[in-house]
């Protein structure tokens, strides 16, 4: 079987991302390492959302919650003098998974607009919780004194090393997601998205599977949060702002829901455009807005569907 164009695009994209630090060194533009690292971190967040949104049909409008939980897990431990990265990132994953379990257990019983509103409401609660805790900077947030420490393994203060770690995690999550959505587990949540009544009638009780997917997506989002706070070296409740949830959702829709390469494409296009346009004019959103509307209108299945041969599965 020949690989689909979408797979080719994905592999090519990952290779190009791998060359960014080389190009940045060549042209003496270290800024690009920073920009593309940020893009990849958001691509991880968008990929995790796509698992439940694109494959599972769960329109979570609160996915920024896990960026916040992952960020706070790292920030709080550092604040209390525990810079150990293994502990910090484990806490980020566990706390995100646990909170996703609670949010999911309640919200998955609903559907449609109610699901959207409940996931949004939970994230707003966490956002206001972040604002209210003065110990961790409250509204203003707080500086991360030092990045997560993995002594003897990797030094995150090395921009290039940190870059490749993020790329490695992105590739790992792409691979894990690929296995998950094509395994029996993934088939159940995709079936439930496609036709819930049929899924029940053939004997699946999809609730448990959808909840498990929700928890997996939350844990992956938590990793993105731990990466993000190390990237910005600053912890703020803004990680969990509802516009952030909207941005991540937009990346998924822009790139192509229910595809693995879509969230990566969406994060790349959205954040690059933001970067280019904002350097050009302060009114960049006036240009970005209509562009996004056009993509949604004419590429109903996202930018990925505009790839030649992109309408197929994969």
């Amino acid at each position: 079987m020949t690989p689909s164009r979408r797979t080719v695009a994905l592999v090519a994209g990952v290779l190009v991302l791998g060359l960014v630090p080389v190009a940045a060194a060549l042209f003496n533009q270290p800024f690009y390492i920073d920009l593309f690292r940020r893009i990849m971190i958001f691509a991880i967040a968008a990929l995790s959302l796509d698992l439940i949104l694109g494959y599972g049909g769960m329109v979570s409008f609160g996915h920024a919650a896990y960026l916040g939980i992952g960020g706070y897990a790292v920030g709080i431990l550092t604040h209390h003098g525990v810079p150990n990265g293994y502990l910090q990132w484990s806490l980020a994953i566990l706390a995100s998974a646990l909170i996703a379990l609670v949010i999911g257990a309640i919200s998955i019983r609903t559907s449609g607009v109610y699901f959207i509103m409940i996931t949004l409401a939970f994230t707003q609660m966490l956002y206001y919780l972040g604002i209210s805790i003065e110990e961790y900077g409250g509204d203003d947030g707080m500086r991360l004194a030092r990045r997560s420490q993995f002594p003897g393994v990797i030094d995150l203060s090395d921009a290039t090393a940190f870059y490749y770690l993020v790329l490695g995690i992105l590739v790992l999550f792409l691979f894990l997601s690929h296995r998950i959505v094509n395994a029996r587990f993934g088939m159940v949540i995709r079936a439930a998205r496609s036709n819930e009544a049929r899924t029940l009638a053939i004997g699946f009780a999809p609730y448990r599977y959808k909840l498990a997917a929700f928890v997996i997506a939350g844990a992956m989002g938590g990793v993105a949060g731990a990466l993000l706070v190390n990237h910005t070296e600053y912890l703020t409740p803004e990680f969990m702002h509802w516009t952030r949830s909207g941005e991540i959702m937009f990346m998924v829709i822009l790139g192509g829901m229910g595809t693995l390469v879509g969230p990566l494409v969406g994060a790349l296009v959205l954040l690059l455009l933001e970067d280019v346009l904002s350097a050009w004019t302060v009114h960049w959103q006036i240009i970005l807005g209509p562009f996004l509307v056009l993509v949604v209108l004419f590429g109903k299945r996202g930018l990925v569907s505009l790839l030649p041969g992109g309408a197929g599965r994969g």
Binding site: A183, R184, F185, M187, A191, R198, T199, I202, F204, Y209
Partner: protein, 251 residues
């Protein structure tokens, strides 16, 4: 006499002032094809919905294989061997025909908390699914997406999914709906092949199909069963002739 496979006792369902199912008592005997007929709006689909677990009756009990299933969910009933097809075609449109049937096989092959092995190349799912597709005549169309199948093929696919759950009782809600004459004949021939090996409750408007297939017939009018019996008795029943068959010539 042996206990019937399905026992419906006093089942009642109201929607506001409308009594859609009115104290229905019905037994389905193992191995028989039992047709449920009646005019539009008689409440046939509502009764099927209660048997499949999509609707809860307001009163009455349903026993299946000796077990009271009145309170069980739809998937729990499917696992016990109750399988339904829908009046309006209901398949997984984005998936291929083979994927559709493989999903039905998977639902009855233990837990699906399996995260690693691709389901699309799992012979434990694909082999039985392909056999069933071939049996319903869709073998050559296995890799076509369900959305691209013709209407009649989608109906066949639904039957294939029903069979893939290895049911003890098939609830078929107008399997011939929307089919052309030729397609209907093929479906009747196929269902005749299932007769005896499977127990079937068949809701159908097509009287040719009903009299060709049914061992017993029940007639429903305004939520009530007005007659149950062998086809010739039902055909001769004056109430039935007046309420339902009245406008048709006796063949």
């Amino acid at each position: 006499m042996a206990e019937p496979l399905l026992e419906i006792r006093g089942v009642t369902k109201r929607f506001g002032g409308l009594v859609a199912t009115n104290h229905v008592d019905l037994d389905i005997v193992e191995g028989q094809t039992h047709a449920l007929i009646g005019p539009n709006g008689a409440g046939k689909t509502t009764l099927i919905g209660q048997l499949a677990g999509e609707l809860r009756p307001d009163a009455g009990r349903i026993r299946f294989g000796g077990e009271d299933i009145t309170g069980l969910s739809t998937p729990a009933r499917s696992i016990r061997g109750l399988a339904r097809s829908f009046q309006i075609t209901s398949v997984f449109r984005e998936f291929t025909a083979l994927d559709n049937v493989a999903l039905a096989v998977q639902a009855h092959a233990g837990s699906s908390f399996r995260f690693w092995r691709p389901a699309g190349s799992d012979p434990a799912l694909r082999t039985p699914a392909l056999e069933i597709l071939q049996a319903v005549g869709l073998g050559p169309r296995a890799d076509v997406s369900a959305a691209s199948l013709a209407h009649g093929e989608q109906r066949q696919l639904e039957i294939a999914m029903v069979l893939a759950t290895r049911p003890r009782l098939l609830l078929l809600d107008e399997p011939m709906a929307g089919m052309g004459a030729e397609e209907s004949q093929r479906m009747i021939a196929f269902l005749r092949g299932l007769k005896g090996r499977h127990t079937i409750l068949l809701v159908e408007h097509d009287m040719d199909a009903v009299f060709a297939l049914a061992d017993r017939i029940s007639v429903m009018v305004y939520g009530r069963l007005i007659a149950t019996g062998a086809p010739e008795d039902v055909r001769a029943n004056p109430d039935v002739r007046q309420a339902y068959l009245g406008e048709e010539e006796s063949p």
